[in-house]
C-alpha cells in the first residue's frame, strides 16, 4: 500500500505492523505525532496493546523496562530533552539486554531552546548499550523500526535499538511511502519468544541484583560480544526484509558512487540525500567523489568503513553534532577506526547544521571542492571547520 506519511507517522505505522504490546511514552516536540498516532491505533482497537501514559520520560523507559522484562514487545519514542531525561533508564535497558525499540527524533538541546534537528542528543547515548540506527528518509524509518525488532529479539543479539530520524526534515515532512502488508510482516516478525529469563512467578529469578567486581566485567564482555554479533544480524535481517519487500539498505553502511571514488563524504541522517545530489553534480564537473552514509552508529561499522576508505585520498566528515572541546563525534569515531590503515586519507571534519540550520547541496559542493583543492595544493587541513557560521570562513 502506497500512502503519504510523515516520518513520525511512518514510525507509528511501523510499531503497528510490528504488533507492539506495550507502549509507554511522554510527549515532546517533534516526537508527539508518533505517540498520538499510537494512542489512536490502540483506542480504535487497531492495535491490541497497552498504552501507559506516564508522567515523564524517565518513567516511560522504566515502564517499558518492566514490561519488556515481563516478556512484552515494547516501543517508545522521544527526542532531545526527553532522551537526556531518561538517560539513567536508557543505560538500564542496555545493560539489562532488553529488546526494546525506541524512535528518537533527533533534536537540539537547550539552552537556547531549539526544536530543530541535531544529532548530539542521540550520540550522547552511544555508550548505553543500545544499537543505533540513523535514517535517511521516511521509508527507511518505517522499514528500520520493523527490522529493529527482529534484530533486537534475535538470540544472538538481545539488545535494545534506537532508530534516529531527523527532526522536522523527516518527522514532519510527508512523503509517499510503501507500507507493507500485515501478513508479510507477521511472517517476517513472529511474536516475541518467551525467553527463559523473563519475570515469571513459576520460575523465580532475581533480575539485576548486586554484582561484585569479579562478575561485572563478564556482563560487559558479553554485551560487547552481542554488539559485535549484531553487525551480522543487522545485515541478515536487512537482506531478509529486502527479499520480502524489495527494499534493503545495505546493512550498516550505505555507499553511494563509491566504487571508483577518490574522495568520500561521510554523513548520517537526512542530509545524505543532499550530499548525494551534490556528488552527482560534482561528477558532472569531472570530480570523482562518493558518499558514505553511516546507517548504524552502534555497533560502529569499523571494518566496513576501513574497507571503503582505503580507496579515498581524502574524506570529509560531516557532523551534525558537537562534542565541545573536541569536535565532531562522527569524526572522532571515524578517525579511531582509520588510525592503523596503512596509508591514511586526509581527513577533514565539518561541523554543520547544528540546531536545524540547513546543510544545502551547495554547502556539500563547497566542502568537496575545497577538499580537492587541499589535496592538490598539499595544504595542511585544520581539525574542524564550521559551515555557515557568521564570520567564520570555510
Amino acid at each position: 500500500m502506497r500512502v503519504v506519511l510523515t516520518g513520525n507517522h511512518a514510525a507509528a505505522y511501523a510499531a503497528l505492523l510490528s504488533r507492539v504490546e506495550v507502549v509507554a511514552a511522554y510527549p515532546i516536540t517533534p516526537q508527539t505525532q508518533i505517540v498520538e498516532k499510537l494512542a489512536e491505533f490502540i483506542e480504535e482497537g487497531r492495535l491490541k496493546a497497552k498504552y501507559i501514559r506516564v508522567e515523564s520520560e524517565h518513567s516511560a523507559m522504566a515502564a517499558i523496562i518492566g514490561a519488556s522484562a515481563a516478556g512484552a514487545r515494547t516501543f517508545t519514542a522521544t527526542a532531545s530533552h526527553g532522551l537526556i531525561y531518561m538517560n539513567e533508564m536508557v543505560f538500564w535497558a542496555g545493560n539489562a539486554r532488553l529488546p526494546i525499540v525506541m524512535a528518537v527524533v533527533c533534536r537540539a538541546l537547550a539552552p537556547p531552546w531549539n526544536i530543530w534537528t541535531e544529532h548530539t542528543d542521540i550520540l550522547a547515548q552511544r555508550d548505553t548499550g543500545w544499537i543505533q540506527f540513523f535514517c535517511e528518509d521516511n521509508q527507511e524509518v518505517l522499514d528500520t523500526i520493523i527490522q529493529a525488532f527482529k534484530v533486537a529479539e534475535d538470540d544472538r543479539v538481545l539488545l535494545p535499538v534506537m532508530v534516529g530520524l531527523d527532526a522536522f526534515i523527516l518527522s514532519h515532512t510527508a512523503t509517499p511511502i510503501n507500507v507493507p502488508e500485515q501478513e508479510d510482516i507477521d511472517r517476517f516478525l513472529p511474536p516475541r519468544k518467551p525467553l527463559p529469563f523473563i519475570l515469571d512467578v513459576d520460575n523465580p529469578l532475581t533480575h539485576s541484583n548486586m554484582t561484585y567486581p569479579d562478575q561485572t566485567m563478564e556482563f560487559r564482555y558479553r554485551l560487547q560480544k552481542a554488539m559485535e554479533r549484531a553487525k551480522r544480524v543487522i545485515v541478515e535481517v536487512d537482506e531478509e526484509y529486502g527479499r520480502l519487500t524489495g527494499r534493503r539498505y545495505s546493512g550498516l553502511l550505505d555507499c553511494y558512487r563509491c566504487e571508483d571514488a577518490d574522495l568520500g563524504v561521510i554523513v548520517m541522517g537526512s542530509s545524505a540525500g543532499d550530499a548525494k545530489e551534490a556528488i552527482d553534480k560534482l561528477r558532472d564537473e569531472g570530480y570523482k567523489p562518493g558518499v558514505v552514509r553511516i546507517r548504524v552508529f552502534r555497533p560502529f561499522p569499523r571494518e566496513e568503513l576501513r574497507e571503503i576508505c582505503r580507496g579515498f585520498k581524502a574524506i570529509a566528515i560531516i557532523d551534525r553534532d558537537l562534542s565541545p572541546g573536541l569536535g565532531g563525534i562522527l569524526y572522532t569515531e571515524t578517525l579511531t577506526s582509520l588510525y592503523d590503515l596503512g596509508s591514511r586519507p586526509i581527513v577533514q571534519n565539518y561541523i554543520a547544521g547544528l540546531g536545524g540550520r540547513d546543510i544545502s547541496v551547495s554547502d556539500f559542493k563547497l566542502i568537496v571542492r575545497e577538499l580537492y583543492r587541499s589535496i592538490e595544493e598539499g595544504v595542511e587541513t585544520i581539525p574542524i571547520r564550521w559551515i555557515g557560521v557568521e564570520g567564520v570562513k570555510l
Binding site: A49, S56, G66, A69, E88
Partner: protein, 302 residues
C-alpha cells in the same frame, strides 16, 4: 475474624541467612510480605538497603521474582509489569513495589504519583526507616524533626513529610499505615490490599538499629513506642473512608498517649535534643493528631 500469626503459611519465600544487619526491619518486613502474598508475586525493588540484603549475584535471598530497578523508577517499572501481565492474561499475579522512604517520598515520588493517578494495579509498600540507610544514614524527606543523620549532624530542622496523606489525596482505593512492630495489622492490610484492584499504598514504619543508634534487640520495642506515643499513627483509608486501627484508635485521648520523650530517649539519633526540641516534636505530634481527628470526624474524606 482477625488474622493470627499461625494462620500464615510455614513456607518462607524470603530466605534466612541473608546479609541484613541484626534487627533489620526490612528483612522482617519482606518475610512477612511474602508469607502473606505467597509465591504468585513479583516484587520491584529500587536502590535501597533491600538491594543489598538480597545478597550478591549469582546468589539471592529471594525465592520469588524480583526486578531490581533504578532509585526513582520503581512505580513506573511496576506499571510496565502490570500492563504486560494484563495484556498477556497473566493477571492473577501480585505486582508489588518494596521501596525505602528515600525511594518513595523523595526521588521516587514523581513516578509513584503518576502510577497512583493512573490507578495502576500495584501494591506499593514503603518501608520507612526514616533516612537513606543504604548510603550511610543521610536525611530523607521522611526523617523526623531533630534526628541526627550524617547530613544533619546537629539534628534535622524540618518535620517529616506526611506521604500517606499525600497518597490519600490521589484518591486511590487503598492507603494504609503500618508498623513492623504490629505484624498482624500489617499482614491484614496486605491481604486486604491484594484483593483490591488499583493502586494500594502501605507505609510501613521500620525502626533501623544501625541508623537510629539503638541495640539490635530493640527494633520491635521501638516500633511499638512510636505507635504508643502517637508519633506513628496506624490508620487506613479504604475507598476514601478514614479509620484508625488498634492500638492507635484508643489513643485519640491525648492523655492515653505516652509522651514522645519515652520514644526518643532510647535512640542515639535523638540524644542531643534539648527540652525545646522535644517540646517542638511533641507539638508536631499533637498537631498531626488534630488532623487525624478531623479526618475521623469527616469519615469519608474522598
Amino acid at each position: 475474624m482477625s488474622l493470627k500469626i499461625k494462620d500464615l503459611p510455614i513456607e518462607d519465600y524470603w530466605l534466612s541467612g541473608n546479609p541484613s544487619c541484626p534487627g533489620c526491619p526490612a528483612s522482617l518486613g519482606l518475610r512477612l510480605l511474602m508469607k502473606t502474598l505467597g509465591p504468585k508475586t513479583i516484587v520491584v525493588i529500587p536502590a535501597c538497603c533491600s538491594t543489598i540484603i538480597q545478597g550478591a549475584y549469582p546468589k539471592t535471598s529471594a525465592n520469588f521474582p524480583i526486578l531490581n530497578i533504578a532509585f526513582a523508577a520503581s512505580a513506573a517499572a511496576a506499571s510496565g509489569i502490570v500492563e504486560a501481565l494484563e495484556l498477556k492474561g497473566r493477571s492473577n499475579v501480585n505486582v508489588v513495589v518494596w521501596a525505602g522512604d528515600g525511594g518513595t517520598v523523595d526521588i521516587g515520588l514523581q513516578a509513584l504519583s503518576g502510577a497512583a493517578e493512573r490507578n495502576e494495579n500495584i501494591v506499593y509498600v514503603c518501608y520507612d526507616n526514616e533516612a537513606y540507610m543504604n548510603t550511610g544514614i543521610q536525611r530523607s524527606g521522611a526523617t523526623p524533626y531533630g534526628a541526627w543523620t550524617t547530613t544533619t549532624i546537629t539534628g534535622k530542622k524540618e518535620h517529616k513529610k506526611n506521604l500517606p496523606l499525600i497518597m490519600a489525596a490521589h484518591g486511590i482505593p487503598y492507603v494504609a499505615t503500618a508498623s513492623i512492630s504490629y505484624p498482624i495489622d500489617f499482614i491484614t492490610k496486605l491481604k486486604k490490599a491484594s484483593k483490591i484492584y488499583g493502586m494500594k499504598y502501605i507505609h510501613l514504619h521500620s525502626p533501623c538499629p544501625t541508623g537510629w543508634r539503638f541495640p539490635s534487640s530493640k527494633t520491635i520495642e521501638i516500633g511499638r513506642l512510636a505507635v504508643l506515643t502517637g508519633t506513628w499513627v496506624l490508620y487506613e483509608v479504604e475507598n476514601g473512608i478514614f479509620k484508625l486501627n488498634p492500638p492507635s484508635n484508643v489513643l485519640i485521648d491525648r492523655n492515653k498517649r505516652k509522651p514522645v520523650r519515652s520514644y526518643i530517649k532510647i535512640q542515639g539519633r535523638f540524644s542531643h535534643l534539648t527540652e525545646k526540641n522535644i517540646d517542638e516534636l511533641q507539638r508536631y505530634i499533637d498537631r498531626q493528631w488534630e488532623t487525624y481527628l478531623k479526618l475521623l470526624s469527616i469519615g469519608k474524606i474522598y
